[in-house]
Symmetry: D2
Subunit: 305 residues, 4 copies
């Protein structure tokens, strides 16, 4: 089939490559800045330098996959494409958008007759080789139209239509919430091993657990690779960003009355990892000084920082 | 090699079978009650009806794998075997013993010249086919001696020597703590999906996530199988036992000053799942009635229960 | 001063009484339905039967305190009053509104020249006697105008201006979040006492802790009263509602990157207290059955429920 | 009555003073090192320089209150006194001992005919003025004998007999667990205020909340004093020690199957406050680098620390 991919970041560029390498599709690659288009063209892939060019180059009904940062960039791109496209054309948001935004985008686009799909995409930098896990919501007829491309992008059985607009990004959101919790569980466990009375080699343990144990998983294979690179992770700082889905998962748990201590705890651990000092713990240190005369550590001076 | 397996429960009996089926070892199967020995003998496996018989039937240095419930049963069996065995013989505890008990057992047995191994064993009812993941601590020379049997019991790379006495059961304990956290993360995620505005088919989602997504794992494959059997788990009550390792993991986290909100939260969720009513929440209901006049639900009468 | 109080629920009616009993103010009491107005008039208090009547009866600049349920009822009442009032008049929202709503109300009302105050109000059914703790945000000149009434409503030092619109309700929100966490801490502690090897009389312990201990507090005094009424809380079901502020506090913590395990945990405990069965725990029971053959409890049949 | 107090640390010395100032008792003050005895004698209090001297100076049945650090120091002091004392004499452990130790001490001492009391003591540096909250377990006849001293030490209704040996220290343990949870709830709340869009003066808020609000408490009064001293706690580092009771409370919750997310979360927050870097978060940073190519912060070099 014919499909345009707009946004040649790490994920978008690799999706273009996977579609192109299959030899089954005509794939057009576009990007806001031209440098990345130049690069992809060197690989023999058809590149376009503007939204207009992409729209004009595709046959109707057009299918364009937008792969740009969630939030304003995605909203703007969808809106700009919609202005150039015709009734019956298809826009797919493959980014990490908030499902509430996708519900809104579907509504606005449907008013213009554009069919919308929200495609939660997992697989990271491994997707090019393994395939991307695609969680798709939105217009069912659009899903059928782009299914050949989804089949190429995903591993076997690795894509599915999950329901109306937002259902794809909602699933991806929860997927990432689970991912937070799983990683935190492994992380706490490895810290307990590391600080124990035993002198564990975590390269050995992480590999061992991947052979027939109940906790074997792809994340654990990655953990093994990380320990092989740096057995005690000495080179890494315990500072962890979060990209939104974990927060949204906890907020959704709250909306739905779901007790979610594990996912919430893993989110809060990331917040704590990024704090230089904790105001909450200052309060407690002050209180302990107040009732018990317990010693209080002085804050670091600017020089000591 | 020659090895005795004492304790023909689900795990022990299957380990006997896996060793026997390899054709590489002479395996003796023993059990406290004779019925299970009768059964295993019907499969052409050598069965013995007492500890004495097992000890007499093995050549020195004898290797006996004890696979009975953790706690008193294990302590008693180790002690009884030790009384019958000779210096240089080997006892292996393959159960879910507390690592502190294993440290103690190693010490007591070494005074009698018996070499001890603690072998944390994961794999459950799948171990017969897939192999058991074996986390071994204790006497290094004993490990070398029984390595042929470990190689048969485990999948490839699925066994390892991890350190002095207790190191095996400690690793298994942390393994199970991680298992609690991972399961809780999946569970919270599936509850958020189930209660959402979308009408998800969790058979589809769980299968999809196993294809190339970051959260793919063996546990998720089991989740998929569970949803295939009962799409909304209507037949299952949300009541979850725990067998000790989760508690020990949290206690060990406390001993080591490791923040472990995720593993602790998953343990507490099991406690809550088993409570008919919560005294803590009664207190809060009473307090809310006290300061705000908020309505209090009456406790169920005996008839209503 | 002159002030109208609109909304004669438990809180509003008592605030009317406290203002009236001081003998320092002219207070007008209004309510959507007339029955409550009839009642309050029997106490010799000036009652009005409509918004129009209240507005007409007050001298400019009018001050009207709206004390109706948060959400639509509050928005509607503010909007209806604004349509009847004049530039420079003052509207106070004393309910448990979301601070984001108060920011919005302030903006909309200011466009009509109405001065807005958001007054978080704590004290519950005890406020009539003890006074209400009033956390006020919004228009500073309006605060000065109504200060005489605030002084009467609050205990000494029990009211304050905290900043621009929303600052009052934000403070009340966090106040309630803290309240959740404190109550949960007491509740967990009492459950640990209740289930211990000792046969504690919680009437004794709760009273004792209020005499000079570090955990003494008004909530603990209420706990003591609750235990005096029902020593083991046998008559109370551990079922706890929540009215929004706890959720908002956790959501705000997430927005601000504040690790808030304690407040979040206390919110999730309330969710769990209201679940008949837990889907999450069904998932875990199913998984344990899947890997370990652990027994699964069957869901209660309709008959057993 | 006559009583000896052994251990003139901050708590012990003030208890001596409070007993002495009442004019109702003969109090003997003893301490391992003589300097503190010299000091207390300057206040006109009877001081002794050895255990032997204390035992000899008291009339039978003797009552000696041991106020030394929990653990070995307490065990040693109890044992040494017991060797010098006679049947029917009374030993009181007023320290923060683990209740399991107190159960053990009671048993050992009873074999010698010594009556034992475990007296959990709260009140910190404020006890001299306000009185100490005394939670007492152990021998009931001994409790009756020392009641006059307890009455002097405590505020009105501030002491009670709670059950057999260990019941006092168990209650103090849970008291401190609750204290952890309450402080954490306040601390999280103040951090949410501090990081909010509003420019709160926490001196104002903490004082305001103490006037009629639901969260008013003695701890909140201390918080107010702390903010008065240092409005933004700039001089304090968010580093919080823990002295054992919080850990024991969580361990006891685990033993009793009590879900205790709030108290556990407040304990883990203290652990995190003391970590320079988190191994768990290193693992997560490594995993995110592994699957998503997310940037990893390098660990601080020695120079940067």
């Amino acid at each position: 089939m014919e499909i345009g991919i707009y946004g040649l970041g790490r994920m978008g560029a690799n999706m273009v490559r996977r579609l192109h390498q299959s030899g089954e599709h005509r794939v057009l690659a576009g990007n806001r800045s031209g440098g990345k288009v130049d690069e992809i063209r060197k690989e023999g892939i058809e590149g376009v330098y503007s939204m207009e060019e992409m729209v004009q180059a595709l046959e109707k009904p057009r299918a364009i996959w937008v792969m740009v940062p969630a939030g304003e960039a995605t909203s703007d791109a969808l809106s700009a494409f919609a202005d150039l496209m015709d009734e019956g054309d298809i826009l797919i948001d493959g980014g990490n958008s908030y499902f509430r935004d996708s519900v809104h985008h579907a509504k606005v686009l449907s008013e213009k007759g554009i069919r919308f799909l929200d495609a939660g995409t997992s697989g990271g930098i491994w997707g090019l080789r393994v395939g991307y896990c695609l969680m798709v919501g939105g217009d069912a007829s659009a899903f059928e139209h782009v299914e050949p491309a989804l089949r190429t992008l995903a591993p076997e059985e690795g894509y599915a239509y999950l329901g109306e607009a937002g259902a794809g990004h909602f699933t991806k959101m929860v997927h990432n919430g689970i991912e937070y919790g799983m990683m935190q569980a492994y992380a706490e466990g490895f810290e307990i091993l590391e600080k124990s009375r035993y002198d564990y080699d975590l390269r050995t343990v992480s590999n061992l657990w991947n052979q027939g144990s109940v906790v074997r998983s792809w994340l654990l294979e990655l953990a093994h690779e990380a320990f092989v690179k740096d057995a005690k992770l000495d080179s890494i700082r315990g500072y962890v960003e979060d990209s939104g889905e974990g927060r949204w998962t906890v907020i959704e748990a709250i909306e739905e009355d779901v007790p979610a201590n594990t996912i919430a705890g893993s989110l809060f651990a990331r917040f704590a990892s990024r704090q230089e000092d904790s105001f909450a713990m200052k309060v407690i240190a002050a209180l302990r000084g107040g009732f018990g005369g317990h010693a209080i550590k002085e804050a670091a001076t600017e020089d000591e920082k």
